[in-house]
């Protein structure tokens, strides 16, 4: 009996009270409180930075989603129509009709101002052409009064938002003259200017420097979409097949260890390296079309594969081996065990990893710069196949492109693009979380 000594009288201790903290407990509790305080401080710091970032992005980017429009009641009679169509300069006649209509409307509201067609063109674009094509497409509206809506130029937008003032304008140029301010004020006074949601920013394509207000992110969203399609279709099956083989079937030897280490290394390779590789292999060697989403997708697949393989292997490893034993024990083959039991249990993890890999690829810019996906893309692809092969941009590359231009309107668009990109990322990550919650199983 070794514990006899514990019962000897000199080891006996006075009974201790449970309501009184002894020195040791005090110390332990203090350190626990300290640790909690550190944790809360860390979270608060993180939250603060996140909020600051969000506030900055939203305040700078939200104006890109708003657009000033001028709404003018307009009637085109049949005679006016015929007269204009017979004239030499058809659109100029339409412009004149519009100017008459605009000044009449403003007069009716008690606003007096003189202006010419150049001012109208500077503020509202080529109104005559717009009107003509509107009535060509809707001939039944001839003779009726319609509310004709025209997008105001970006400078009108910025003047109304207060980021462009009379002091900013030095002398004036072909885009804007000092008297245009008066016309804007007059239209505003007459209640013709409205703020609407800028659908054109979502659906439009990139524009040149002379029309920054018309630039939209639509084409590059489509470019990103086609790239993600390529990435998903290639990296999910390849990644999952590779991981299943490595995890469940491959013998564990030097060679598979070597492969494993290399996959881990690949995941850490900077993305620009993949860009150079893509340039050398896909474009210069394989002669795939430059700037095409197909090539972008291939490059991003190379980048995403290691992420998917690593997360897939981790989720396969997390399936308890007893499940495999159980399946093998009732006479299932290895493949049946994997496909009937292991894979379904690992699926949520695989999906989460895939979505996170895709989200990473979606936000990637550097490799796209190298394969030329930062060009000026002013049109949508015509067919589905062209979507893969026609030169296009991607959302982050488009943002980069806009941010590099000098016009402040483009900067605003860049911030707006960031919001679009973040929305996509948040959506994807939310889907990942939901999938994980929904399919997570315990054993």
């Amino acid at each position: 009996m070794t514990d006899a000594s514990l019962n000897s009288p000199d080891n006996a201790r006075a009974p201790r009270s449970l309501t009184q903290e002894d020195a040791r407990t005090k110390k332990r509790n203090a350190s626990e409180r300290r640790f909690r305080a550190y944790g809360i401080a860390a979270i608060c710091t993180g939250l603060f930075f996140l909020l600051a970032l969000l506030a900055a992005i939203l305040s700078a980017g939200l104006p890109a989603f708003r657009q000033a429009v001028v709404e003018v009641p307009f009637t085109l009679t049949q005679e006016q129509h015929d007269e204009a169509e017979e004239a030499m300069l058809k659109t100029a006649i339409y412009t004149n009709y519009f100017i008459t209509s605009l000044s009449n409307t403003m007069q009716a509201e008690g606003v007096q101002i003189k202006f010419d067609e150049d001012a109208v063109e500077r503020l509202l674009g080529k109104v005559g052409g717009d009107l003509r094509s509107h009535f060509r497409d809707n001939p039944d509206q001839i003779g009726e009064e319609i509310e004709f809506e025209l997008a105001a130029s970006s400078r009108v937008d910025r003047y109304l938002k207060g980021t462009f003032t009379r002091e900013d304008l030095q002398g004036g140029n072909r885009f804007f003259m000092p008297e245009d301010f008066d016309l804007i004020d007059a239209m505003k006074e007459a209640g013709l200017i409205k703020q609407v949601f800028n659908w054109n920013f979502i659906t439009g394509v990139d524009t040149g420097v002379d029309n920054p207000g018309g630039a939209g992110i639509g084409a590059s969203v489509l470019g990103s979409f086609f790239m993600m399609l390529v990435v998903l279709v290639l990296s999910l099956p390849i990644g999952v097949a590779a991981s299943i083989y490595l995890e469940e079937f491959a013998p564990k030897n030097r060679f598979t260890d070597f492969i494993e280490i290399n996959i881990a290394n690949l995941a850490a390779v900077p993305s620009i390296v993949f860009g150079i590789l893509g340039l050398a292999v896909f474009i210069q060697f394989a002669h795939l079309p430059q700037s095409a989403p197909l090539v972008g997708g291939l490059v991003l697949t190379l980048m995403t594969l290691p992420t998917i393989i690593i997360s897939t292997r981790a989720s396969l490893k997390a399936v308890p081996p007893s499940i495999r034993d159980a399946a093998l024990g009732v006479g299932a083959s290895k493949m049946q065990a994997v496909f009937h039991h292991v894979l379904p249990l690992a699926a949520p993890g695989i999906l989460t990893g895939t979505i996170i890999g895709l989200a990473q690829a979606l936000g990637e810019t550097a490799p796209l710069l190298l394969i030329g996906m930062v060009g000026f893309v002013a049109r949508y692809p015509d067919t589905f196949l062209e979507g893969f092969l026609e030169p296009n941009s991607a959302v982050p590359a488009q943002i980069y492109n806009w941010a590099a231009r000098s016009d402040a309107v483009f900067t605003e668009k860049a911030w707006g693009g960031i919001i679009v990109l973040l929305l996509f990322l948040v959506t994807m990550n939310t889907i990942a979380v939901i999938l994980r919650r929904r399919f997570e199983r315990r054993w």
Partner: protein
């Protein structure tokens, strides 16, 4: 251990079902089974007893080649079932495991419904022609696993939601559902209460009519109650193998005697 009740048994000789000769098992450098020779009879319950870590599970796993799944494990020697060498390269371990069922030491139901747990084996082996037949087979197996009454109203509930003892009986039902010829049971009753244990023992006795059953157990009473033959393992050696009655009443080896009287182990 004089209070041990040893059932009256017929000492009739059955055919040899499993014959092992010179079996050695290594886990890397660890020599876990040392030169084991044993002949396990058909229509007989054979109990493996021995102290923890002596290699009972390891030897049991050799019989359906579950050790193949352990990378470091190496098996040397011959094991024949019905005269066929199961380690012959021509033998498909998957076919072998359909013939030699196994209940594992730790209950491991699939994270699927109770029904699917039992129906899985018959499905992959095509044992039922239609749904009605499968339903019948599932019910029969659950009854044999002594768990039917507890789960008949919730066959769609997940098998992992059962208690530990219920899970183990579900695993027994799953193993018998594939109609194996040999059933290997690794401590099937270690998580069961006495009532369920009695039911499982009844099942084992019933299975004996048609199958060969090998059971690993730490309960001397259980070995004595259910088995006709007993093998005593110690430190990887098969120390003694013979009629259960003789092992428990009149062991040849002093190590066997000290183990069953509780002095080693």
């Amino acid at each position: 251990m004089n209070d041990m009740r040893i059932v009256e048994r017929d000492v009739q000789q059955n055919d040899v079902k499993i014959a092992a000769k010179g079996v050695q098992v290594y886990y890397g450098d660890n020599h876990a089974i040392k030169d084991v020779d044993v002949e396990i009879e058909d229509k007989t319950v054979t109990a493996f007893i021995g102290p923890s870590g002596c290699g009972k599970s390891t030897f049991l796993r050799c019989i359906n080649r579950m050790n193949d799944t352990i990378d470091v494990c190496r098996v040397v020697g011959d094991i024949h079932i019905d005269g066929e060498d199961i380690y012959d390269p021509k033998v498909d371990p998957v076919q072998l495991r359909a013939k030699v069922g196994m209940v594992f030491q730790k209950p491991n139901p699939f994270p699927k419904s109770i029904y699917d747990n039992v129906a899985y084996g018959p499905r992959i082996h095509g044992l039922a022609k239609n749904k009605a037949e499968l339903d019948e087979l599932v019910e029969k197996s659950l009854r044999r696993g002594a768990i039917w009454d507890e789960v008949k109203d919730r066959l769609d509930a997940p098998g992992t939601g059962l208690s530990g003892g219920q899970q183990q009986r579900l695993c027994i039902a799953r193993a018998v559902a594939t109609e194996p010829e040999v059933l290997l049971m690794d401590e099937p009753c270690s998580a069961l209460d006495p009532i369920a244990t009695a039911q499982v023992e009844e099942l084992i006795d019933e299975l004996r009519q048609s199958y060969s059953v090998v059971i690993v157990t730490h309960s001397m009473q259980q070995a004595a109650r259910v088995s006709q033959k007993t093998a005593f393992f110690h430190l990887g050696n098969l120390v003694e193998y013979g009629e259960t009655g003789q092992i428990f009443t009149n062991p040849n080896d002093p190590r066997t005697e000290s183990y069953i009287t509780g002095r080693i182990g």
